[in-house]
Symmetry: C2
Subunit: 144 residues, 2 copies
């Protein structure tokens, strides 16, 4: 992991579909060398995947919320949540609640339906997302 690897990670985080040839020009290194470095970053598990980012709103999902949940039966709860299409992220957390999850639904009504379905497993506190100043900032500082 040197400065060149960090630059590659930064570029990949900005645009994962950038051709390797273009990256090789940007960082002034031959294409096979860049390819090999990317392969190693993947093998080491530093790069875990490449994903298209989708707009929830453009797909008709206009409501995002974070739900903190307290349950006594983690196993059943996780099974239930894994099967719930509304939940995009699930975190086990410290504190009064067991779990925090990010929920994306069409509207507040469908969020309410989801929360109703959850209530069999415990109790929750819901934080509605009003705006997202930024999301998914890079873990790599992009100075060279």
């Amino acid at each position: 992991m040197d400065q060149i690897d960090r630059k590659i990670l930064s570029l990949m985080h900005e645009n994962a579909r950038m051709p390797i040839s273009e990256m090789s020009r940007t960082i002034s290194m031959s294409q096979p060398a860049v390819t090999e470095r990317i392969r190693k970053l993947e093998d080491q598990g530093i790069i875990t995947g490449y994903r298209a980012q989708l707009s929830g709103a453009k797909l008709g999902k206009h409501t995002t919320a974070f739900v903190m949940f307290k349950t006594d039966n983690c196993k059943d709860f996780v099974s239930f949540i894994e099967a719930s299409a509304e939940v995009v992220d699930l975190y086990r957390i410290s504190g009064e609640y067991n779990y925090l999850m990010k929920v994306v639904t069409e509207n507040t009504e469908s969020l309410a339906s989801f929360l109703d379905a959850c209530s069999a497993h415990g109790f929750s506190t819901t934080l509605i997302v009003l705006a997202t100043p930024f999301e998914d900032k890079s873990l790599i500082s992009n100075e060279v």
Copy 2:
């Protein structure tokens, strides 16, 4: 947005670096047609970008937390947070707190330093992430 578009989005969410030629084989449609559909999905803002997913742990960031924050000066707070490399996501939320942010740091000590720096802007409650059963589940159901 028909079933083929949904399939493209699903494939792109699984692996954004999949060659379009491979996608065209998977969904049995000519490559220029797939390319044109992707271009339209980008133009419509349904696809907002392509990102490499990086492992925080493999980059030496072993602590993830969600911090709920209450501030009286949103403008200054957001400026401060935007300049903080530790914060990867920032959400404006409803409820007792103004903001929820996802914070990724090297360890609990560096998290404490960050929270100390924040304390000038208001008060917070921190939820430490103990485990992540899943993250970034697709908004598109991947049945065809």
